[in-house]
């Protein structure tokens, strides 16, 4: 029994059509069918957050979402965060603060932080901590990630809310 569906969605600003098996997890669709390796597989039960992507501007776990459920949506992955060969201010801040070690949680962490800063452009350290608690990091102890997100908030504010650095996919 193979139940397949056609889906049409936008990924990192580009329209995309595909036929997927109904059970195909969104993370596998992104990684294997579209070659977007930035969404990682960590636990496949929705706890660790390494597979985090944005769907219509909202962070979701792509390991517990079926690709067929993404039909009609707009997806942003880490590959869509930087454009024109330039890193997003968040990525720059993560680099400057050494907010990553093994890098495995980093794409999910960046997307969660990106979403959070849109909701709360001037967060306190405690608010950042609470926001990124959705995503596990085994390496850093989170502290440099918190520092990087706070710094990115300042950079985005200075850069006029990051205009000109916006990724292609609009927030729904």
């Amino acid at each position: 029994m193979t139940d397949r569906h056609r889906i049409a969605l936008t990924v990192n600003g580009r329209p995309c059509e595909a036929e997927v098996e109904s059970r195909r997890l969104l993370v596998d669709f992104l990684r294997e069918d579209l070659g977007l390796k930035g969404a990682h597989i960590g636990c496949e039960h929705g706890v660790c957050g390494t597979c985090t992507v944005l769907m219509n501007g909202e962070s979701i776990r792509s390991c517990i979402t079926f690709a067929v459920q993404a039909n009609g949506s707009s997806i942003l992955t880490v590959e869509g965060l930087s454009g024109d060969g330039r890193l997003h201010p968040l990525q720059e801040a993560f680099w400057d603060h050494q907010a990553l070690q093994c890098g495995y949680c980093t794409p999910g962490m960046l997307l969660r932080a990106y979403e959070f800063l849109q909701e709360n452009p001037r967060p306190t350290p405690d608010q950042v901590r609470a926001a990124i608690a959705s995503n596990l990091c085994r390496c850093t102890g989170y502290q440099f990630i918190v520092e990087a997100v706070l710094d990115a908030a300042r950079r985005l504010e200075t850069a006029g809310a990051g205009r000109g650095q916006e990724p292609a996919a609009p927030r729904a």
């Binding site: 098996e21 059970r23 039960h45 979402t65 459920q69 609470a130």
Partner: protein
């Protein structure tokens, strides 16, 4: 950890969904947010042959305020309720509890009604529904019916819904001015299911409790309403001693199941502490403290 195969259905009306559920029988299962179901499928602990995705029914995606009631459709995500101004006014207890449901990425997908239908005894929303005497609407091949939250939960992950019946709406009735609410839970890790949690509503008249609702999660096979403790509060001022006695009454008879996150005795101990703290906070809020 990949899910077994299934047939996916995206009905656009309730009638279509009900027909699909009726046709697929035991093979059919409702898919709402999927934040509990899909992990189970990835572990291959759940193997539905057909999934009927109710979030594709646009008519079920709403948060409405009507006649002092908050109505939430089955397609409505938890995050949408969490940021809805009407929900904050009508059901602040629910909104407070939603902050404990997983993390934001989970709440962006998970639904309020789906959590009720999933009936996890450790989950927050069922306890709130019980405390607020939520009224639920179920639709099946034989038509629509109303049921109280207290009638829904029959055991761990099991409900009184008939095969093929779809929960389409939950209604929460607002408590009057002079009420205070509190949802508090103890989890070993932020965002995890509670070792024990307490959903509390108090109404005070002249400093005296004249209405109380206490529900607990994580301490039994279903969420539990602490009616005896509620009764003891009535006509009393919520002094520390009264609150402590109510917390004791709310938890004395409980025999929670032991697991790796807490033994039965420990869960009862935590529940007692958290009922007490929730009652104290609700009383403070009812008396005009911070909401």
């Amino acid at each position: 950890m990949k899910p077994p195969p299934f047939v996916y259905h995206a009905p656009t009306t309730v009638a279509e969904a009900v027909t699909l559920l009726d046709e697929t029988g035991e093979e059919g299962q409702v898919l709402a947010g999927g934040q509990s179901l899909i992990p189970l499928m990835n572990f291959r602990l759940a193997r539905p042959g057909h999934l009927v995705d109710v979030t594709s029914i646009r008519d079920l995606d709403y948060v409405r305020r009507e006649d002092g009631r908050l109505r939430i459709g089955a397609a409505t995500r938890q995050a949408a309720v969490e940021r809805d101004p009407a929900a904050a006014e009508q059901a602040p207890l629910l909104v407070e509890a939603l902050g404990f449901v997983g993390h934001e990425p989970i709440r962006h997908r998970g639904t309020v009604v789906g959590s009720l239908a999933h009936a996890d005894p450790a989950a927050e929303i069922p306890a709130v529904a019980l405390a607020m005497d939520a009224e639920l609407t179920a639709v099946g091949a034989r038509g629509e019916r109303r049921l109280a939250a207290s009638e829904l939960f029959t055991g761990p992950f099991s409900t009184s819904l008939e095969p093929g019946e779809l929960l389409t709406e939950a209604q929460f009735t607002a408590w009057p001015p002079g009420s205070g609410h509190a949802f508090l839970e103890f989890a070993r890790r932020h965002g995890d299911f509670a070792v024990a949690g307490a959903a509390v509503l108090l109404h005070l008249d002249g400093g005296v409790v004249d209405r109380a609702a206490i529900a607990l999660c994580g301490v039994a096979g279903t969420p539990v309403r602490a009616t005896e403790a509620e009764r003891r509060l009535l006509g009393e001022r919520p002094t520390p001693a009264v609150v402590e006695a109510a917390a004791e009454a709310a938890t004395a008879g409980l025999t929670p199941v032991s697991d790796v996150h807490g033994s039965s005795a420990y869960r009862r101990q935590v529940a007692r502490a958290y009922v007490r703290r929730a009652l104290a906070l609700a009383a403070e809020r009812a008396q005009g403290g911070t909401r």
